[in-house]
């Protein structure tokens, strides 16, 4: 019994939150629709995709995505259609532009800089250290005499 409940619980996660029942001609179109509604962002409730959101605008966008997919539009075409209306904001994958490039570049730059810093610092400091220590030791030895 417990196992049955557990499996049901796990399975219930797989059921998609979209309550609208759309019918597709091919399974591939269905696939496209599902990925698109996952990737497109609801302009009203900003941290949800249009598959999850229950806002009216999300309903309308799902309907639009459905009609566009039924018309045989490709994934990219639908994304562009939405971008023309709602901007880059509407897609969860930001395009690489000069302004967004830094999202990827800054971490890499930081790691490289830190690495250079560590390597560079170790070499100089140890050599100088040893030389200084030797000089100090020599001076102490001289004094002993």
């Amino acid at each position: 019994m417990r196992w049955l409940l557990l499996t049901l619980l796990v399975l219930s996660n797989l059921v998609l939150a979209t309550e609208d029942s759309y019918e597709f001609d091919t399974p591939q179109q269905r696939e496209t629709f599902l990925t698109l509604t996952q990737e497109l962002r609801c302009p009203m409730c900003q941290n949800q995709n249009i598959a999850d959101s229950d806002a009216m605008i999300a309903h309308d966008m799902r309907r639009k995505v459905y009609t566009l997919v039924q018309e045989g539009k490709s994934e990219q075409q639908v994304i562009n259609y939405m971008k023309v209306r709602y901007g880059d904001f509407v897609h969860y994958k930001p395009p690489v532009t000069f302004a967004t490039l830094w999202l990827w570049l800054t971490p890499v730059m930081f790691v490289l800089l830190a690495l250079l810093f560590v390597v560079f610092r170790k070499k100089t400091s140890t050599q100088e250290d040893i030389e200084a220590k030797l000089a100090k030791a020599n001076a102490m030895l001289e004094q002993e005499k």
């Binding site: 900003q46 605008i57 309308d60 309907r63 639009k64 023309v84 209306r85 709602y86 901007g87």
Partner: protein, 204 residues
């Protein structure tokens, strides 16, 4: 020399970070860059809300500066701004056109009859004032989608050539009108009158 650089560089980076994060405190994540701005009104052919046999196209925006107001009876803020819009229409002869869309009217199921929608609109405009020259009925909410509308109320300031010059999300109140919309509205009125005066001058 080297030691001062070690102090100054992290400090400068820290300051940049502080400024960046500080700005974030006051930025509104809800403001989106309107894609409709500086573009002509997208093409549509939609019925009048009251007399559905009458069809409108973007040509209704030609020749006059218009504020296209996206609204619905279900929208509370719309009811709040209606009296002020009516005042603007009466005091400054602002031309308001409504783009009406209904939230409860699911185009796929047809849950609500048109006459019911009309009744609701008439009673709401009777209570709060009617600023609209006419209302375009966006039956399938397609045109709203084309305009990048995310809710209601939203306003599009359209010049006499039918080009959207401002997209204002939210209501119009006295402050918004005076600070944000009126300045551009006046410019558009001037633009509208200028080419007319020039062409008349040419004829003479």
């Amino acid at each position: 020399m080297k030691k001062s650089a070690l102090l100054v560089i992290p400090l400068a980076l820290f300051c940049v970070l502080i400024v960046f994060l500080f700005q974030g405190l006051f930025s509104d994540p809800r403001t989106l860059d309107s894609q409709a701005k500086d573009n002509p009104v997208p093409s549509f052919e939609l019925p009048d809300l009251m007399t559905p046999t009458r069809l409108y196209t973007p040509d209704v925006f030609r020749g006059e500066v218009t504020i296209l107001n996206v609204w619905g009876v279900w929208c509370v803020t719309c009811a709040v701004e209606l009296p002020f819009l009516t005042h603007l229409k009466e005091a400054e002869q602002v031309r308001f056109v409504g783009l009406y869309f209904d939230q409860d009217l699911d185009p796929d199921f047809g849950t609500k009859t048109l006459s019911r929608v009309q009744q609701e609109v008439i009673s709401m405009l009777g209570r709060f004032g009617n600023p609209y020259q006419f209302n375009i009925f966006d039956v399938y909410r397609d045109t709203s989608l084309d305009l990048g509308v995310t809710g209601a109320p939203e306003h599009f300031l359209i010049d006499a050539n039918g080009v959207i010059r401002m997209h204002h999300v939210g209501d119009i109140n006295e402050r918004v009108w005076a600070n944000k919309i009126k300045p551009l509205y006046d410019v558009l009125l001037q633009e509208k009158n200028k080419p007319l005066a020039e062409s008349q001058g040419g004829e003479l």
